[in-house]
């Protein structure tokens, strides 16, 4: 059943796609805690994958591992058969749970990641990105003076700028009002429509229902289930997921283990 990694890699060596993403036996532990525990997962390149799970379950850690910001303690991550290196990461973008904006204006935050383009093309792209994110009016504002919703939209616009194959979004609409949440979901749909794989963490079940094609449920550093969204919302297979959906007080964090 298990193929050695070299053989595995040759299967995909012709293609340029980052998919499928194949994760096996992935683990991350720190100070004796298994924060991500023996995770295996396969994702295709088309769907919008939503990761659900209680606070502290390890969702953000999992995204960091998949994006290569953290080194796993064990396991393998293969993007289209390739190990996660700088070239693979260059085709991915991430919007962090706390948006990290440069101490520059909104447009300078975009220009920063478009350095490779010639000037006129770059300015045109900035104008387009700002318009899509409904940020045209605040183009020259210092990014850190923007509202929470504007900051998130700017962070998403910046992640989109490089035209990534994969976009990781870690709770992009946490603490935003319904209108801002809607604007962000529209933006995510637009990016997905351009052919970008979406991997999204959220605690907003309405948002998960609206956006998810498939749901990965994480609890205590483990993947409890991975189902098509329609099936997941109809019938959770794991107790932890059922408790989470029903809003029961839970059990889901890593630290009681």
């Amino acid at each position: 059943m298990l193929k050695p990694p070299e053989e595995h890699a040759t299967v995909y060596s012709g293609g340029d796609s980052l998919f499928p993403l194949e994760v096996s036996g992935l683990a991350f532990s720190d100070r004796g805690r298994n924060l991500v525990d023996n995770v295996s997962l396969t994702l295709d390149g088309r769907s919008r994958t939503v990761i659900l799970g209680p606070n502290g379950a390890g969702k953000s850690l999992l995204m960091r591992l998949l994006h290569g910001l953290l080194q796993p303690t064990a396991g393998t991550i293969l993007w289209g058969g390739r190990p996660l290196d700088a070239a693979v990461r260059a085709r991915q973008a991430m919007v962090f749970q706390r948006p990290t904006l440069l101490r520059r204006s909104a447009e300078e935050n975009l220009r920063f990641v478009l350095g490779h383009l010639p000037r006129t093309a770059r300015d045109a792209r900035i104008t387009e990105l700002l318009a899509d994110a409904k940020l045209t009016d605040i183009r020259t504002m210092p990014a850190r003076l923007l509202s929470g919703g504007e900051q998130q939209r700017l962070a998403i616009a910046r992640a989109r700028a490089a035209d990534p194959d994969v976009l990781f979004l870690d709770e992009p609409s946490a603490s935003l009002d319904p209108a801002s949440t809607h604007a962000i979901e529209e933006l995510i749909r637009a990016i997905h429509a351009e052919g970008t794989k979406i991997i999204l963490v959220t605690h907003d079940l309405g948002q998960a229902r609206r956006l998810a094609d498939d749901v990965v449920f994480v609890s205590r550093g483990r993947i409890m289930e991975h189902q098509p969204a329609a099936d997941f919302f109809l019938n959770q297979r794991s107790d932890a997921a059922r408790a989470y959906i029903e809003g029961r007080l839970d059990i889901g964090t890593v630290d009681q283990s």
């Binding site: 960091r64 990290t100 850190r144 003076l145």
Partner: protein, 235 residues
């Protein structure tokens, strides 16, 4: 009492009359210290930025060393530069001792650790904030350093001003390597030392007034920078 009052009056009239000797001394002071700070920034800012970004063994030791060098006694720096530049020293052939160039070298050495250490501190905080974004974007070390320097420019300007404050006010280093030669290497602080010992208190006090004014200007500039940075949310 009336004596020191009349000295003050004389000093003020010297300042206001645009006395040629006074202004040539001030001019040399500014030229030496501003050049030294410029050089110290060219070395210290990238050095501090690299130290705030790089991950290598012994990084903590280098940072501690910088912090220690921040408080180098000027006379010791002066002595070291003297030994290097004196006729029998390794750089003796250039004949730099007792020239403004020697004073610039000494002040550069004095101020570089200060600027580098302050830069490292403020850019390390900034880097902590940007680190994951930079890694996500796959930036090279050079791109990281230049982005940090640009985004930290207000606090770095403050570091440069602190360096200028230290350079313009020090006596120990410039008096040893400059020699306090009239019309050649005489700067404000060395003149004050000399004229006071000769009993020419008016000129000494006139220069003292200028030094205090410069200190006030530097402080005001630091405050203005901080205020601007806060207003733009760049701090």
């Amino acid at each position: 009492m009336s004596d020191s009052g009349s000295i003050l009056t004389l000093a003020l009239s010297l300042v206001l009359s645009g006395d040629a000797e006074l202004w040539s001394i001030i001019g040399l002071s500014l030229r030496v210290s501003l050049t030294a700070v410029l050089l110290a920034c060219l070395i210290g800012l990238p050095l501090g930025a690299v130290l705030s970004v790089a991950r290598f063994r012994g990084r903590g030791a280098v940072a501690a060393l910088l912090n220690a060098f921040m408080g180098l006694p000027p006379v010791v720096v002066g002595l070291a530069v003297y030994l290097v530049l004196s006729r029998s020293g390794p750089l003796g052939v250039f004949g730099l001792l007792y020239t403004p160039a020697a004073m610039i070298i000494a002040q550069t050495i004095l101020v570089t650790p200060l600027i580098a250490a302050l830069a490292r501190q403020s850019l390390a905080d900034l880097h902590g904030e940007y680190d994951e974004l930079f890694r996500s974007l796959g930036l090279s070390a050079t791109e990281k350093v230049s982005a940090l320097i640009w985004d930290g420019r207000y606090s770095l300007s403050t570091a440069a001003l602190a360096g200028f404050g230290r350079a313009i006010a020090e006596v120990g280093a410039v008096i040893i390597v400059g020699g306090n030669i009239e019309h050649v290497t005489r700067v404000m602080t060395t003149t004050i030392a000399l004229e006071t010992s000769k009993g020419n208190l008016a000129l000494a006090m006139a220069l003292g007034i200028i030094l205090i004014l410069l200190a006030l200007i530097v402080n005001a500039a630091v405050m203005a920078l901080n205020r601007t940075a806060r207003r733009l949310a760049y701090a």
